[in-house]
């Protein structure tokens, strides 16, 4: 004869905290702490020390930061990064919006074109820069060939100090256009159709419909696209490294390339870490702006 087991009484209510629940987040938490939180604090620690790739030395206080802000190349790289963001972000937002407006239709052509414009986004940075290098190579490149047909000489996009950053921006815009277009498309498709029907009944012009209905309805997406792109483009590295190596004379060297150069090519890890913290603060400001805007959206 077996004893009848009394039904288990739950020791907590269904919504009361239970430490076992932590197990569900533990795997994520483990990687978050080891791959993000720990390196973040380690980076801050390094920025206050004299350190190279293979050893860390004495505490130097703000010494690395003082060196950093006395370094013309670092200040130039900060300026370059802002210039690059200025070149790419508004262009990406405007072209992305234009494409989304043009391709927001349930036709086969629109679907094909949407896929086509999104296609470049799936390529790796190496392939993207390779394609654009082939376009820009002097004498033998696509641009040189086209100019050659008209007996003209193509501009030296990757070696002219006035054009080099524009060349990097062109490659980037071609590469990154897919995401803004998709974000705008999803926003456009959420606008209720009856508003447009009402506008049609009122004989509103297409321009009036665009400015009075469409654009106001997607203004938060517009802000989101701008902020996402600012955060992304602040981290420019691959295109500049592979297309121009940061040249000529550092005019296309962004902050991340400065960090890479300093920490891994010159072995000055402390200085590189200090530059990383400056970039961290800049991106944090952009992320906070995104947070504030999304908070405002919830309040409404």
């Amino acid at each position: 004869m077996t004893a009848v087991q009394a039904p288990r009484k739950p020791s907590h209510g269904p919504h009361s905290p239970d430490w076992k629940n932590a197990l569900f987040v533990a795997p994520y938490l483990f990687f978050f702490v080891t791959l993000l939180v720990f390196p973040l604090f380690w980076g801050i620690w390094l920025s206050f020390h004299k350190a190279d790739t293979f050893s860390s030395g004495p505490f130097v206080g703000f010494g690395n930061y003082v060196r950093l802000f006395n370094d013309k190349v670092f200040l130039q790289s900060v300026g370059n990064t802002f210039y690059f963001v200025l070149l790419t972000v508004p262009t990406l937002a405007l072209i992305g919006l234009f494409l989304a407006l043009a391709l927001n239709a349930r036709t086969r052509t629109a679907t094909v074109l949407r896929s086509l414009f999104f296609f470049s986004s799936v390529l790796s940075v190496t392939i993207v820069t390779l394609i654009w290098r082939i376009v820009f190579i002097p004498q033998f490149g696509l641009l040189a060939t086209v100019y050659g047909w008209f007996g003209a000489t193509a501009p030296a996009f990757v070696s002219d100090p006035n054009l080099a950053m524009i060349a990097v921006a062109m490659a980037t815009i071609w590469w990154c256009l897919g995401l803004p277009m998709m974000l705008f498309l999803s926003a456009l498709q959420q606008i209720p159709g009856d508003i447009y029907e009402a506008a049609a009944l009122d004989n509103a012009s297409r321009w009036r419909t665009l400015t009075a209905i469409t654009l106001p309805s997607i203004k938060r997406t517009f802000a989101l696209v701008i902020i996402i792109q600012i955060v992304l483009q602040f981290q420019l590295f691959g295109q500049a490294w592979l297309m121009t190596r940061g040249g000529p004379n550092n005019v296309t060297k962004p902050i991340v390339l400065y960090i890479y150069d300093t920490a891994f090519r010159r072995w000055d890890l402390g200085l590189g870490a200090a530059a990383s913290e400056v970039l961290f603060v800049l991106i944090l400001l952009a992320a906070m702006a995104q947070y504030l805007i999304s908070r405002r959206k919830e309040d409404l």
């Binding site: 030296a156 100090p161 040249g247 891994f264 072995w267």
Partner: protein, 440 residues
């Protein structure tokens, strides 16, 4: 019962076979190198004599070593030149390759951090002694009295000449050799004459976002003025009349369109091979390939011939030019005796094949090869052999030489192309280099 015996026999046989296989497993050695990829042409080639160019010869040599030594397997990782960023990460992660190509100018960086194995004992066990190498090669790899790499060559920059265009320009001696300048003024005058007669620039240079070429030219012409710009290995002095003269010379060449502009390295090679200019400033490593081009009918170099010479002496000091060398270095880590023996065997194999490697155009590191008739009989060696005496590296105590190359190249390039005033570029060059060297 029969079945049980049969199964037992099978099991024993299987164990025996796996044990034999385990014994026969080759010793695995990880090798990392630059010099490019050419698997399509030489991926399986073991006939080294058929290979040309750096990539072809090194690939074929390693294939041959693997074929000749079934008990050893060299697995190759091919990195983009020079590959030090990757190597740094590998060393930092404790996952460095066993054998790696390192420029002699960079050995100090790794040796100072105890990341490399001194090779004296290993080379000695293979019967290789330091005195078998040329003095330049010995100096290049000796740090604190020990060999930290096995030198495989000495390389430098050269004047690669399109003789057809030189004939058109009237810059050929009666004996058929090219006429080179003996001073800066002569250099400008000859380049102007060349352009006037051929309509093409005298120099073919890769100037687009380039640093190495600018640095090598800068050092070379400072050496030619006996400028002791690195009297202190932690302090450079380039705000000098000598440094200014070098940049003024190259700026004049640039301003008067006596050189190609806006070309990257690959484009400059293609342009020279297409006959777009008279002299290409490039290294010893292209001599073999260019000579092969000159022997191919229908090419620009086949038309009037190809010649190659050391940099002409343009200033009043000692005739010299910047040189460096490649070496095989071995990472410092715990190894089994058979692994170390395999590495030694590979180094001996490369030492024994130094002649094959010298077919690239590099000068051999082994004195006996340099002195051999076989080497001297290779095309153009009579004209470039002189660089064995002219070649001069930076003092070996100077660290981060590749990082210095970037700074010097960036500032020199900015001055030559007019982005910066020459004095300002030299001042910035000095400040940036000294900041780097004072914070090692």
């Amino acid at each position: 019962m029969k079945t049980i015996v049969k199964s037992a026999l099978l099991a024993v046989s299987a164990l025996a076979i796996s044990a034999v296989t385990a014994v026969a497993d080759p010793v695995e050695i990880k090798l990392q190198r630059f010099f490019g990829a050419c698997d399509a042409d030489f991926g399986t080639n073991t006939d080294v004599a058929k290979a040309t160019g750096e990539c072809g010869i090194i690939t074929s040599l390693i294939n041959k070593f693997n074929a000749d030594n079934p008990d050893i397997h060299i697995s190759v990782t091919n990195v983009e030149w020079p590959g030090y960023d990757q190597l740094n990460a590998q060393f930092a992660a404790g996952d460095a390759p066993d054998i790696v190509t390192i420029h002699e100018s960079v050995l100090s960086d790794y040796q100072s951090k105890n990341l490399l194995l001194p090779l004296d004992d290993l080379l000695k066990s293979e019967g290789i002694t330091p005195d078998q190498f040329t003095s330049a090669a010995q100096q290049g790899v000796t740090k604190d009295g020990k060999f930290y790499g096995m030198p495989i060559d000495t390389w430098t920059m050269l004047y690669h000449v399109n003789m057809d265009l030189f004939k058109q320009a009237g810059l050929v001696n009666p004996d058929g050799t090219p006429i080179f300048p003996k001073s800066v003024d002569e250099a400008i005058a000859q380049a102007e004459q060349f352009k006037a007669k051929t309509g093409k620039p005298y120099f073919v240079q890769n100037m687009a976002n380039e640093t190495a070429l600018f640095m090598r030219n800068f050092y070379t012409y400072l050496f030619q003025q006996d400028s002791d710009f690195f009297a202190d290995p932690k302090h450079i002095k380039v705000q000098t009349p000598e440094a200014k003269k070098v940049l003024e010379f190259y700026k004049k060449i640039y301003d008067e369109d006596l050189t190609t502009k806006d070309m990257d390295y690959g484009t400059a090679i293609n342009a020279f091979l297409a006959g777009e200019g008279g002299v290409q400033l490039n290294g010893t490593w292209v001599v073999g390939d260019y000579n092969a081009q000159s022997e191919t009918a229908g090419t620009a170099l086949n038309k009037g011939g190809y010649a190659v010479y050391p940099y002409p002496q343009l200033f009043g000091g000692t005739h010299a030019q910047y040189a460096d060398g490649h070496s095989w270095a071995v990472s410092a880590k715990d190894r089994k005796p058979e692994e170390l023996a395999a590495i030694g065997k590979f180094l001996k194999f490369y030492f024994d094949n130094d002649y094959e490697w010298s077919r690239t155009g590099h000068l051999p590191s082994v004195q006996a090869v340099l002195d051999s008739d076989q080497f001297k009989a290779l095309p153009h060696r009579s004209t470039i052999l002189e660089v064995a005496k002219l070649g001069k590296p930076l003092p070996q105590q100077i660290q981060r030489q590749f990082a210095l190359q970037d700074i010097i190249g960036e500032e020199a390039g900015a001055a030559i192309t007019g982005q910066k005033d020459i004095d300002a570029a030299l001042a910035d060059m000095e400040t940036r280099v000294n900041d780097l060297l004072s914070n090692l």
